[in-house]
Symmetry: C2
Subunit: 181 residues, 2 copies
DNA sequence: GTGCACATGTAAACTGTTACATGATTGC
DNA sequence: GCAATCATGTAACAGTTTACATGTGCAC
């Protein structure tokens, strides 16, 4: 069982999903291709940590809706409590480019920051929307430690604040050098 | 040439380093083990993007100090300007655990946040120290777009702000549930 | 005398990406 | 017509981690 497997189980605790949906919903927090997710889901079923139900569809391929089992929840709880989390891995090519920005033309630097701001802004819109939805749907229950939605709310709030911070950093950086071009 | 290769070249632009030093210095921005770095440095030399000089030491193993070549700088400039940066990859087991925190005991949750705060605080101290050093050493030259230190300064400032933001998020989250335990 | 910092390297195992494969529906 | 969305899966390849390998000096 690797970290991705626990990510999948974590998402299935809140709600049952297809592999396809899991990929989309994880994207902001853990990036994985479907070619990695589908075989892993099969393995979770094989190990008794999840089950699935086939739902036939007309005009679309059949889908498999996965549900976490009690054993899956127990495995997840054990991992959360007893395995110290591995150091975070951040791999962001944009950061490398900024690190060496002294070698680039001013317009290249500008374009890099502009593109970054636009992808951060898109993510921000999604995060704000989802947080709003959570608040409406779950109200005070959201901030209860044992709520099935509390963790997701925390993680979304964190990402929201980090993205806002990075946007303001982009603007600060752009101003720093726009005064010198 | 992969992203790690460009990361190595980026660092060598500012100063010549050994593989051992490169790993330590990259750690906050791009995580790689020495087993990945050493063979890649050899490959950079083979392709003419870097050179190295062996320095014998007494009581310690000999070291190889790598220097980027003009060709290496050109390759890096081309990559920065012409290859759109890949989407960032973030893989953080702590986030998975927080996502599913509703399944954990309160003291498990507390411990997770405390450990997170302490590693963020340690990183923060290092970032503040380095930024202070940069300001003292390079003064105004730091914020000039073509300075060899500007990019590093930007990247350190970004990480500083993100870490501060995450620490305050941790405290906010801990307060949210400490009132309910 | 035990563990850590310095310093480099290879091999095996695991994780993750790209490409191949299929097929209907909807919007531009 | 062409691309995108839905939906799953496998195979080959690239990237990353863990383990094996070596050796001195220094601090506790």
């Amino acid at each position: 069982m690797n970290a991705l497997a626990y990510m999948l189980l974590s998402m299935l605790v809140r709600k049952s999903y297809t592999g396809y949906e899991l990929q989309k919903l994880m994207e902001l927090f853990w990036q994985a291709k479907h070619s990695q997710i589908y075989p892993l889901l099969a393995k979770l079923v094989q190990e008794g940590l999840a089950t699935f139900e086939v739902v036939g569809q007309t005009g679309k391929p059949d889908k498999k809706i996965y549900t976490v089992t009690d054993q899956g929840i127990a495995a997840l709880q054990d991992w959360i409590a007893n395995q110290p989390p591995a150091a975070p891995v951040n791999r962001d090519e944009f950061i490398i480019k900024i690190y060496a920005i002294g070698l680039a033309e001013p317009q290249t630097a500008f374009r890099l920051f502009e593109d970054r701001i636009s992808s951060l802004t898109a993510a921000l819109a999604y995060l704000e929307e989802e947080i709003q939805r959570m608040k409406e749907q779950y109200a005070e229950a959201l901030t209860e430690l044992d709520s099935r939605h509390f963790g997701r709310y925390l993680v979304f709030q964190r990402q929201l604040q980090i993205n806002r911070e990075e946007i303001s950093w982009c603007r600060w950086a752009m101003e720093l050098f726009s005064r010198r071009v």
